[in-house]
Point group: C2
Chain length 145, copies 2
DNA sequence: AATGAAGGTTGTAGCGACTATAAGGTCAAG
DNA sequence: CTTGACCTTATAGTCGCTACAACCTTCATT
């Protein structure tokens, strides 16, 4: 079972330990996000708990919506132990702004889709208020020609 | 000024009339979403108000978050005049579900980012609760080792 | 008539964050 | 010694555009 020392993981083992897929791990490797993996004699990647933690950090940051570029910066910051954490806070704030913008966009979308859904009266396409409404752009105006 | 009849648009004119970019229009053409554009003697695309309306429908559907594949189906439905509009309503409902799912995902993200932002106390990275929190995965537990 | 700007045409490649496929090498177990 | 699960690399596909290159056409001005 343990093809390597109990202090090392292959990609697949790291995948199981983190929830990331093996292909994704190799992808991060290629991008230099998960660097300096050792190799076994036959060329297998060998990871330690250090890389596992780094990968977990990456996955959790992704789950927070950060881009891989953002995450690269966050990782750099996390490594500069004596720097101010204001830069980290700034990145979180930025992300919060992006999320809130996206939220209000989606809320507008939800409202509009609800309106469309409500105006369906179950007839045939010719009389479909939804199609009509999308075609016309705005709220359908019952009084207009 | 009028290189073509006043009943026809070139891509650029159609772009101005609809807000879509000319490249996007050609892209839709290539995908077959905006088919059967006539051509001038020199090969310029010539559109009529029929295609303009179709393009507006596409753009408005995109603004509602529908994928181009969804839109292809919606356009097919819109053309089948005597079909039931239940299928249209179903697609709107589906989209509403997708939007609501995305909304609640984003709301969870917002909450999590707010929590992270709040726990920054302005020290150095070594003591950064944000980095710590992302590294550890969940809420940081002040009582744990 | 010539020229230059502003349009149009095609094809190709890039974005982000994966995902899929192919063609092969390695390893542990039966 | 074979099977099957794992690993390796390289390449192409996803979505909805966007950017670029290289060329052709139209229009207005000189």
């Amino acid at each position: 079972m343990t093809m390597v020392s109990d202090r090392h993981f292959t990609v697949g083992q790291l995948a199981k330990a983190t929830g990331a897929k093996a292909v994704t791990i190799r992808y991060y490797d290629r991008l230099g996000l998960l660097p300096s993996a050792g190799r076994s004699a036959s060329g297998y990647r060998l990871y330690t708990s250090k890389e596992r933690d780094r990968l977990l950090f990456i996955r959790r940051s992704r789950a927070l919506g950060f881009s891989l570029d953002d995450i690269r910066e966050l990782l750099d910051l996390a490594d500069r132990k004596e720097a101010s954490c204001a830069a980290v806070d700034a990145k979180v704030e930025e992300q919060l702004v992006r999320v809130r913008t996206r939220l209000s966009d989606l809320q507008a979308l939800e409202t509009e889709l609800e309106r469309l859904s409500d105006c369906c009266e179950g007839g045939v396409i010719t009389d479909c208020r939804i199609i009509e409404s999308i075609s016309a752009g705005g709220r359908p105006d019952p009084a207009s020609s």
